[in-house]
């Protein structure tokens, strides 16, 4: 190979070029797909966010009007609040719950695989089917949850109709779908070297102390990953809110308490046909998610520990 390169560089170049073309041809389905179905729509939406566009007539240039109007829109703030509510009230408790379940499962518990299957099972239910099922469970008159609460003497709230309880209902339902996080945390926990605990045991560290000085730092990369993924998912919260709003036959649910950012964006785009405004909303969401993701990444240096470092 080396001598061939010295003797015949032109031949090799030809070969390299041929290899490059073959490689490009093999990756072309993805490259073309990415350019046509991802990059182009992304760039187009940026252009449309500067225009007034209703799908039927040609877009007219309005500059930054869509963005300035956004900050005057009450529903924009409301939908942002609803979405942030799901992020703040939803993400951390769900992760903490999943971690506790993973910790309980991690110790050599009999029937670990059975429990693991049970906790993972709900994540296989499609979002719409799961939401419809939970709407039945949460029904204030016939639902099982209020019946169970009544049995112990608590008058359950009107989960799906009371604007104060619609979002907590969704958070409650969210616990049912934490199986993925549990399984991934379990995998991370099983990677923590046992010798750390042995050493800590000899030194007489309590289990609580062991968790915070060994377990938590060891699984922190998984926590970072889950936090970022769940943050993005919660900012795009859509399906469950859309289905739950059906209880009041509206788009935003009772008193717009379920008008999440993505739902409002969808409403602007496909109910009011304000494509330009919706595009501007999409870019605002991108900026906000990017901001939070960056903040988490920047602070992660302080609390995420990678085994190979230092």
């Amino acid at each position: 190979m080396m001598t061939e390169q010295h003797n015949n560089t032109i031949g090799i170049r030809k070969r390299e070029r041929k290899l490059l073309i073959t490689g490009l041809l093999f990756t072309s389905p993805w490259i073309i797909g990415f350019l046509v179905f991802q990059l182009y729509p992304i760039l187009a939406s940026f252009y449309y966010s500067m225009t007034d566009y209703n799908l039927f007539s040609a877009p007219t240039w309005v500059g930054l009007d869509n963005y300035t109007n956004l900050f005057k829109d009450d529903k924009f703030y409301l939908s942002m609040y609803n979405t942030l509510y799901m992020t703040i009230v939803g993400v951390v408790p769900h992760m903490a719950f999943a971690l506790i379940m993973a910790l309980l499962l991690n110790a050599k518990v009999k029937g670990q695989s059975i429990y693991r299957t049970i906790y993972f099972l709900p994540t296989l239910v499609p979002a719409v089917a799961g939401s419809l099922l939970w709407m039945w469970l949460l029904n204030s008159q016939y639902g099982f949850i209020n019946l169970a609460l009544e049995y112990v003497g608590i008058a359950g709230p009107n989960w799906l109709i009371d604007p104060d309880w619609t979002k907590p209902s969704l958070v409650l339902m969210g616990f049912w779908g934490t199986g993925t996080i549990t399984v991934m945390y379990l995998a991370a926990l099983q990677d923590v070297p046992k010798m750390y605990y042995e050493a800590a045991d000899i030194d007489g560290a309590s289990k609580w102390r062991q968790f915070w000085t060994i377990t938590f730092p060891s699984i922190s990369p998984m926590t970072l990953f889950q936090l970022i993924m769940m943050l993005i998912a919660s900012f795009q919260y859509f399906t469950e809110g859309m289905v739950f709003a059906e209880a009041t036959q509206s788009t935003g649910g009772p008193e717009n308490s379920l008008l999440f950012y993505s739902i409002y964006l969808y409403q602007q785009a496909f109910s009011f046909l304000n494509m330009g405004y919706a595009s501007a909303m999409a870019w605002m969401l991108f900026v906000v998610v990017m901001f939070f993701a960056l903040v988490i990444f920047k602070t992660s240096a302080k609390w995420v520990y990678y085994g190979g470092d230092k």
Binding site: M101, L103, L104, L105, N106, A107, K108, V109, K110, Y115, I118, Y119, L121, P122, L133, W134, W136, L137, Q141, Y142, F144, L147, W176, G179, L189, K194, Y197, E198, D201, I202, K207, Q210, F211, I214, T215
Partner: protein
């Protein structure tokens, strides 16, 4: 709580090991209790789904909750399959 294998370590004195085994049994029972309870909560909706699927409309809306329908209402399944042309190959 995190790792049971640790207490099996040969480095510990046998006295401590004996004391630990009672404690371990208790914590194991507690663990199963919590795991089982959460497991029940996770399986509950599936059970509800299954029970509701064999109930008639009257049983579904019955005000004292009906656990097991007096009469199996399996028409739900045939209705679901027939609602869309499921077996009609175009």
């Amino acid at each position: 709580m995190v790792n049971k294998a640790v207490s099996d370590g040969s480095l510990q004195s046998p006295v401590k090991k004996k004391k630990g085994s009672i404690k371990r049994k208790m914590s194991s029972t507690l663990k199963h209790l919590v795991l089982g309870l959460v497991g029940l909560c996770f399986l509950g909706p599936f059970a509800y789904l299954l029970l509701t699927s064999i109930k008639s409309i009257d049983d579904i809306f019955a005000v004292p909750f009906v656990w097991w329908p007096k009469e199996l209402f399996l028409e739900n399944y045939s209705n679901a399959v027939n609602a869309i042309p499921f077996f009609d190959i175009p």
